[in-house]
């Protein structure tokens, strides 16, 4: 045997022995690198940036916690924060609404599959388009809401121009696709419900509401969990609808943190990257509470396996 082939042999046997330790890292490397540079590092960079005053072009100036102090006194920040809470609470209505529609459609009649997919339709459409259509519905001069109100003799309301109604109006538009999403989650979940338990419940004389609450809903737990996750994330990320429907107005009444942040950092109101980052950090910390809870639930499930 020549020298070279001995060396090659040794090398291949080293590879052979260790390949199960090394292979996963080779497979992970590109994904992790991408993710680190575009997602993980930027989170820390934002934390750091929130301690600076920076216009995005010139030199950044270290200002310590000044941005946060300014936030503390900023009226617009509290409006946004309040609207975020409203979004979170009202957006969760998509979950019971989705369950209700799923129960309504959970039958086997001719063409029901087509009905199910058509009910799901709104979710596939861009929020930009959804926002546009709802803006027309709400329009104070020709909107269908006011046409209907007028036909029963009520005065018109300008939903998107009224500081008290604007956020609710936008959330209703957002609930439309989100309900469709929850519906599909529950429809899939309902397929997996154990028929024997339902029969047993029927024999015990459980009527519809009690049956739903004590027998069906507990079995839908996995679907409910995902519905919660996607709805909460959706509520905190809400941006498209606000941007399209009101652009934060009237007088900033429909801002949420994610929109206010964008406005401060990138719109004509000035390029205050540091201040924007501080707002994003606050939003992130709110989200972190939920992320921690989601991960904890997943971790428990992993251990139970």
């Amino acid at each position: 045997m020549t020298q070279a082939s001995v060396a090659e042999n040794r090398q291949s046997s080293w590879w052979h022995q260790n390949q199960q330790q090394i292979t996963p890292w080779l497979f992970l490397a590109p994904g992790i690198l991408f993710f680190l540079f575009y997602v993980i590092f930027p989170i820390f960079q934002s934390f750091n940036l929130s301690l600076y005053e920076w216009d995005g072009l010139g030199k950044a100036e270290y200002v310590g916690l000044y941005n946060y102090e300014e936030l503390y006194w900023d009226e617009a920040f509290y409006t946004s924060l309040k609207n975020n809470v409203v979004w979170l609470v009202l957006y969760l209505l998509a979950i019971p609404a989705g369950l209700f529609i799923a129960l309504f459609l959970n039958q086997t009649v001719t063409g029901i599959r087509l009905y199910k997919s058509l009910f799901f339709f709104p979710f596939v459409i861009s929020q930009v388009v959804v926002g546009l259509v709802f803006t027309w519905f709400y329009d104070p001069t020709f909107g269908i809401i006011n046409v209907l109100l007028g036909s029963v003799g009520l005065p018109p309301i300008n939903v998107l121009g009224d500081e008290n109604w604007v956020t609710v109006g936008i959330i209703v538009a957002g609930l439309w696709p989100q309900t469709a999403y929850c519906m599909i989650l529950y429809l899939t979940g309902l397929n997996a419900v154990d028929p024997e338990q339902i029969e047993a419940g029927r024999l015990d004389g459980a009527k519809s509401w009690r049956m739903l609450w004590y027998i069906i809903v507990p079995q839908l737990r996995p679907a409910t969990f995902i519905a919660f996750v996607v709805t909460i994330i959706g509520a905190l990320r809400s941006f498209d609808l606000i941007s399209v429907m009101t652009n934060g107005g009237p007088f900033g009444a429909s801002r949420v943190l994610s929109f206010y942040m964008f406005e401060v950092a990138l719109s004509e109101y000035g390029f205050r990257m540091g201040y924007g980052a501080a707002i994003a950090v606050v939003l992130f910390l709110i989200m972190l509470a939920f992320i921690a809870y989601f991960l904890w639930s997943m971790y428990k499930e992993e251990r139970a396996r």
Partner: protein, 282 residues
């Protein structure tokens, strides 16, 4: 089955249900029906305040023709495809690999790397906005399709990894053990044993990603500007600014912008729904 199957209920309720279904559907899809009708109306209908009534004449062809010939819509549509397709391929490819690594191998950092991907995927993306925009600027990729694609691939890898890893976990592990006993190398196990079994997951993810990326608006306005690189979601807003109060054209434009993901959904419905439920609800 819950609620009580309709076949077992009284005849009168069966008829009520059957009649109620299409009514409920029309009510539910009212916003869409409205845009569809708007898009075939002549502009005189809007001048005559005939907003919600029947179109006075069919102008569908004219309106859609105008959208395609007199505006930047075709360019925006093309951009959307140029952004969406590479992103889907990139994110699915990367996550097949990460999902394989995290789903098959047992090592100490496994769960932490997995959680990093999951947590990163849940992050409100505004916290990434300023640094990512800055990074894209420094790479010289601001206002390019490449810049947008690179970010989308990276961010979507989080969600895709979650999905792929769970899917691979559910595969029969004996297959891999048998292959190892045969002395097949790990790389070949990935390529010849696991990858063929992942086809349904790949299909599901691809359809879902297509819709997500196509409908993205936030990153489109943060990382691009102008007709040379913006996708159709961002394009539709400038289109609307151009045709303000031309409701028939705005509607036709919106429908054109919404059509590709809708077509995708109807063609690949089963995969789409499997993807949405994260494979967790079986």
């Amino acid at each position: 089955m819950f609620p009580t199957p309709i076949e077992r209920s009284p005849r009168s309720w069966q008829i009520t249900y059957q009649a109620f279904l299409p009514l409920a559907l029309i009510l539910w899809l009212l916003p869409l029906i409205a845009v569809a009708i708007f898009s075939i109306k002549p502009d005189t209908d809007f001048a005559n305040a005939n907003y919600w009534g029947w179109p006075s004449e069919f102008k569908g062809f004219t309106n859609y023709w105008l959208v395609f010939t007199a505006s930047d819509m075709p360019k925006y549509l093309l951009n959307s495809f140029k952004i969406t397709i590479p992103t889907v391929i990139g994110a699915v490819a990367l996550s097949c690999m990460t999902g394989f690594a995290l789903g098959i191998y047992k090592f100490r950092a496994n769960i932490w790397i997995f959680f990093m991907f999951v947590a990163g995927n849940f992050v409100p993306f505004q916290i990434l906005m300023v640094p990512v925009r800055d990074l894209t600027l420094q790479l010289g990729l601001y206002n390019t399709i490449t810049g947008l694609v690179l970010f989308h691939v990276a961010f979507q890898t989080g969600f895709c990894t979650l999905f792929m890893r769970n899917f691979i976990r559910a595969l029969p592990f004996e297959l891999i053990e048998a292959a190892r006993v045969e002395g097949i190398s790990e790389w070949r196990i990935f390529w010849f044993v696991v990858l063929p079994l992942m086809k349904p997951a790949i299909a599901a993810l691809a359809v879902l990603m297509f819709t997500f990326i196509w409908n993205d608006y936030f990153w489109a306005i943060v990382l691009t500007q102008g007709v040379e690189s913006q996708p159709v979601t961002a394009g539709i807003t400038s289109f609307n600014a151009q045709y303000r109060a031309a409701y028939h054209l705005m509607s036709a434009g919106s429908i054109v912008a919404a059509l590709p993901p809708v077509a995708m959904f109807f063609l690949m419905q089963r995969h789409f729904i499997a993807g949405l439920t994260l494979g967790a609800v079986k």
